[in-house]
Amino acid sequence: MRRISFDTQPIGAAVVGTGRWTLSEATPSRVTIEAGAEVELIIENQPAKLQLTLERDARLRVVHVITEAGVHSSLGVNLRENAECRVAQVITAATESGVEVSLAGSGASFELGGVFLLSGDQRCGVRVDVRHDVSDCRSRTLYKGVASGSARGEFSGIVYVAPDAQRTDSEQLSRNITMADAHIATRPQLEIYADDVRCSHGATVGQLDDQAVLYMRQRGLSLEMAKRLQIEGFVSDVVLHAPIAECCETLVEILHEKLQSL
């Protein structure tokens, strides 16, 4: 079921100008976003095996939603000079998702904000690998995972900084909450070979804040409501900063619905 419905067109091999696109069976496996183009791409429950190249000054904003089980994706993004790519990923079903980014031109910038919310016995694996091959590039990876029931979630990601990639600015954060018998494994990795860089990374796996739940219950919220509200708060920044503003409301709804089943 499509939740995000705009006037999108299936993306072709080379995209110029501006526009909002989606995938189709006819979408080639390699797509070039031409120099200076500004493109929005919405992928909703579509299997995707796609290599995207952004030429210089190109801008790509992606909203990637998986709410149906068994839809897998593998996205590659190659950025040339001053190109910019921002991605929001929202996962509420079993899936394997991989994103491989190569910052190949000076001044390029990549940002990914993702959430996975799992319940029951759902399993999902998320990978976000970022290569800083040249100097003066910027990357931000923020992934939030929540799992309850007996679900299993996995985040892994390597940020690689090449020896000549000076003045790299990179942040990678994997923050997770587990409930009941769920389990989340997080494996962020940093491989840095340049010496003039600013790289930070962090990973946490924790439980719900008991004190916050107590506080909310004392104001009259039931235990379930308090837990859901806390989780909603935990993941909200990812969806509120989604790169395609018109999608925010639907993304919030998707998360809100999924929370009822947690």
Binding site: D209, L214, Y215, R217, Q218, R219, G220, L221, L229, F234
Partner: protein
């Protein structure tokens, strides 16, 4: 309104409340003072229903009902409010959204329909004025980045929004400067009516200059050892607790 009889409560193996007797009637303000570690916060937590504590003996009657059979949220919905000593932060949850859910849960318990968006906005504006809270702050995450004073003002704001029958304020004045103290105290005083009651747990006399108590109780090692009126608070401020504790020990 509240009748506490011989209340004993422990956390794990440690008994903290060792036979509390307290009666609070509608329209009254009670102050509970006492040295650190006497059990003041524990009393507040036990009355609120914090599951960390076990009631081992005694009874609590609230509005004619056995309070101990009610969950934390049920007590809240029946008009029991706890102003926390250390209000927590809840990242990503706005004050406005949080209070809207809380207010509507309270209304649901009374069989009332939820407020419309416009009604709720009006309520928030009205109540934030009572504590001189900048209404812009309601768009921020609950208590996130708030100073100590702002957190305490926020507690009174929530009290104003929920209009409780019994408000238990745990060290509401700790960490406040003179201005914040005045605002918090004025807020509490403005909310006082004939049909509600307030229990103020405090360390310092100065709050009681603004929130004038009908009764002042001294809690020491889990028991209320003395009850007086507001002049007792002044005496404690001047002379400390020693004279009282020695008196008590001699009995």
């Amino acid at each position: 309104m509240l009748k506490v009889e011989n209340l004993h409560a422990s956390v794990g193996d440690k008994e903290i409340l060792r036979g509390i007797n307290l009666e609070v009637k509608a329209g009254e303000v009670h102050a509970i003072m006492g040295p650190n570690g006497s059990g003041k916060s524990t009393l507040a937590s036990v009355l609120a229903g914090n599951e960390k504590f076990t009631v081992t003996a005694g009874s609590v009657e609230y509005m004619g009902e056995d309070l101990m059979t009610l969950s934390i949220e049920e007590r809240s919905r029946k008009g029991l409010f706890l102003g926390f000593q250390y209000p927590v932060e809840i990242p990503g949850v706005t004050m406005a959204n949080f209070m809207k859910l809380a207010v509507n849960e309270h209304r649901k318990a009374k069989g009332l329909a939820p407020l419309t968006a416009a009604e709720y906005l009006r309520l928030m504006r009205e109540k934030s004025a009572i504590v001189e809270l900048d209404s812009k702050l309601t768009a921020r995450s609950v208590n996130e980045g708030f100073s100590g004073g702002e957190k305490k003002k926020n507690e009174i704001f929530q009290m104003a929004m929920l209009d409780p029958k019994l408000a238990i304020l745990d060290e509401t004045d700790s960490g406040l400067d003179i201005d914040a103290l005045r605002i918090v105290a004025t807020g509490v005083t403005r909310l006082k009516r004939e049909d509600n009651a307030t229990v103020v747990i405090t360390h310092y006399q100065r709050l009681l200059d603004y929130i004038v108590p009908d009764y002042v109780h001294v809690l020491y090692k889990g028991r209320i050892i003395y009850t007086g009126d507001k002049s007792l608070a002044l005496k404690l401020e001047k002379e400390g607790y020693d004279w009282l504790i020695n008196d008590y020990k001699e009995e």
